[in-house]
Amino acid sequence: MATVTPNLDLFGPLPRRLGMSVVLAVSAALVLAPVLAVIYGAFRTRPPGAPRAAFTLAKMAQAWGGIFTGGWTQAPTVNTILLAIPVTIVATALGVALAWAVTRTDMPGRRTLELLFLVPLLYSPLVSVIGWTVLADPGAGLLNRAWAGVTGAHAPLFDVYSYGGIAFVMVFYFAPYAFLLCAGAFRALDSTLEEAAAMSGAGLLRRLGFVTFPLMLAGIGAASLFIFTLALEQFAIPGFLGAHVHFDTLAYAIFERTSTYPSDLPGAAAAGTLLLVLSSIGLYAYRRLTRHAGRFISVTARGYRAVPTALGRGGMVLTVICAALFAIGVALPLAAVLLRALLPVRTASVDLSALGFGNFTQLFAAGDFLLGLQNTAWLAFGAATICAGLGLLIGSLLVRRRSAGLSALDYLVALPIGIPGTVFGVGMLWAYVRTPLYLTLWILLLAFTVRYLVYAVRTVGGSMMQIDPVLEESAAIAGGTPLRTFLFVDLPLLKPAIASAWLLVFLIVMREISASVILYGADSVTVPILTWNYLNDGSYGTASALAIVQVVAVGLVVMLLRWLFGADIRARSE
């Protein structure tokens, strides 16, 4: 051991170079296979393995040309964009305002509210769908019933099966993501910059306009582009709510092409390239913006106390507004799901004496419930563990060693972020349909690992960046081998980050539906898929009971990890 520079040379030079080549080749194959398969498939006449399949431009022409000539992709493309843009703007605005209130002011109850705003990250979009269906179905929705009862009006107060209804549900589902991303950026802002404006004679609004928001612009822009890609690929919310009124988005239209008879897998792939391009535009802009973010955000290395802006009596008003938003966006739909889970039938008025656990007994008796629960647990634990392990390896290597191979790996790992779930599903299907993986749990495990590894790498890498290399150097000087140094110095310091990475992947897999809906088979159903199927069968009670089971299970795991390892989804460094 000759060197004491930042050092994670665990394997020695030759095996390392050889190992790196193998790792790169395997990762490239795993990541690129679904992407290339989608593009390849878009130019085929028939699905993989079908006889007489040939190359054609027809599917691509239909999908891309159809946008302008009234083809089948026109309405979904227009709907996708019309939905994504306003949802992005409103959800981001909401997230920014809440993040400001929680991180930069002395609003009473801000710590509690911060945790409450993150609750939607724990549940699947199907929970929002069920909740708002129960509340705002134009005919039987509880809110609309109550409204009709009070005013005698026939028109519903709020119809969730509409463009506005879908946008509303999506805004409240995505606002917590914007909140999470912006809260991190707001925290990094040196409060003396605001204080300097106050000392210059500027009031609160002037300070916000001149200092705070201009400095946050890059962070806010990045958050909005991230939300934009999420909104583009969102499958469950517009899929279920829009199906009632034939309001299709691209993500749903792709799914429909693969699942309805006669299925059109090449058509789905061609439409997939459309969605892929849309989401790449958002991702490209996000990359450009975050690359220069350092210029705008100023973080002083010296310890400073973040001093909240004193709001005085206005603070209480803000608390009430925040609490109301939480009540409307989170508590109300969750309560509706719980209520529906306890009601035997969909009733116009709530008969409290009818409350019971019938839906749960029915759910537990259903043959595929245990299977789905087992599968989901297995997938979530498996993908989270693999991603956390690989994330630890890749993330720590990336920070400490710069090499062409590692940079390539970094790029490869990040590539799937831009691929919408349904498109990824179609690609996986095409790439693996002729392997024994097809229709098994393994293909789902592979899909989730490839798709979400990047989050684990980023989380661990972000934490590794904060470990001063001097700590490793001093262990090396003291005679520690690189491996020993890593285990003794870095690993304990990285423990919360590893736990957070694990939790993050676990949460995403627990609620994943857009790729699994294309890849699942009879033996590989998951909880979100079961919920989706119950919903589409009209079994709202069972779907609600299942959603409650999932929320409770996820909540328990989150609390356990927080208690055991200090895992925190806020630790995510993006």
């Binding site: 003396t192 500027a202 201009p214």
Partner: protein
């Protein structure tokens, strides 16, 4: 005329007092420094005067106007003060001109007037507008950023200017230059200033008056000279200059003599303190004489160590009575070597009783 009057100021963080029962008056045009170690409450006091921190109790008046008091709190942006931050707090997304002009914009000064005043103040801090006005903070060095911060604090003619350890992020050479610049500027503009630092040199170079703070209280105040010559306790002695402190074992007030270890008696010219526990003498006031010289207030000792420090030599002396003394002498030929016997003289006029 009193510009600032602070009375009974208290501020707790959790159970601990950051500032406890602080009273302070600052005259118009005075440059006052709060000097103390970290955690002594000096920055908290300054931030309460700025309005950035709220006191738990106490009153603050500036120019006769109540800023903090029962039921009264004037927010920072209505106090007409300027402030220079330790972190500079120059807005990184604005140019030098936009940074400095901001306080004038807020006051709706006409554009022509604004341009003239910004130009004048940038000249004052030696950042000529022709070179610097359009640069962004990220293109400036730390010292230049601190000048922008200073210009921004001064441009709107504040009633008071506050400095929160403005030089501690700069390297030693820049700190010297900025200290001199600050002294020049305040010699010209004579704005009332409150300055917070833990650096005694800064305090001595800049201040009309220095308040030494410890654990949330002012322990002594006076001109830099008075604090150096007559520290009232060991904390102040150590914080300004450092000194030998010899425990007093017997005292004879009538003959102005104190006894230290080994029965050695020392004559003291000025005996002000009520109780006498320590005899304090600055390192450079200890005189070194040959072992056979006759003198008053002399202690026989052996030179244990001599360290050359450029302008002076620092001696560690092992006195026969068991005490250890430190003495500084101007570097010159013929100074005693380690191991040699000498007599250390403590001149009566320079001994301080604490």
């Amino acid at each position: 005329m009193t510009a600032i009057r602070i009375a009974g100021l208290n501020r707790r963080f959790g159970p601990a007092f950051a500032v406890e029962g602080l009273d302070l008056e600052i005259a118009a045009g005075e440059f006052l420094t709060l000097l103390g170690p970290s955690g002594s409450g000096k920055t908290t006091t300054l931030r309460m005067l700025a309005g950035l921190e709220r006191p738990d109790s106490g009153t603050i008046q500036v120019g006769g106007r109540v800023m903090n008091g029962p039921g009264v709190f004037v927010p920072p942006h209505k106090r007409n003060m300027g402030m220079v931050f330790q972190s500079y707090a120059v807005w990184p997304h604005r140019t030098v001109y936009q940074n400095v002009a901001f306080p004038l914009r807020v006051q709706r000064v006409s554009r022509a007037d604004e341009k003239a005043r910004v130009g004048r103040i940038l000249d004052l801090v030696e950042l000529p507008a022709s070179d610097f006005a359009d640069r962004y903070a990220s293109q400036l060095s730390g010292g230049q950023q601190q000048r922008v911060s200073l210009a921004r604090a001064l441009v709107a003619d504040p009633d008071v200017i506050l400095y929160d350890e403005p030089l501690s992020n700069l390297d030693a050479r820049l700190r010297d230059a900025m200290r001199t610049l600050l002294r020049d500027i305040h010699g010209r503009i004579r704005t009332t200033a409150l300055y917070v630092t833990h650096d005694q040199t800064e305090a001595m170079v800049l201040s009309d008056r220095v308040c030494i703070m410890q654990a949330g209280r002012i322990v002594q105040q006076g001109t830099p000279r008075a604090l150096y010559d007559n520290p009232s306790n060991m904390f102040v002695t150590e914080f300004i200059g450092g000194a030998n402190a010899l425990p007093i074992v017997e005292q004879d007030r009538a003959r102005q003599q104190v006894g230290i270890a080994g029965g050695v008696r020392i004559h003291v010219a000025n005996w002000n303190a009520g109780s006498a526990s320590r005899l304090v003498i600055r390192h450079h006031h200890v005189q070194l004489l040959p072992a056979d010289a006759t003198a008053c207030n002399a202690i026989d000792a052996t030179v244990r160590d001599a360290v050359f420090l450029g302008d002076r030599v620092r001696f560690t002396l092992q006195a026969d009575c068991g005490l250890t003394l430190i003495a500084d002498a101007v570097a010159s030929p013929g100074l005693p070597m380690p191991g040699s016997r000498i007599r250390a003289v403590l001149p009566a006029a320079l001994c301080i009783i604490i």
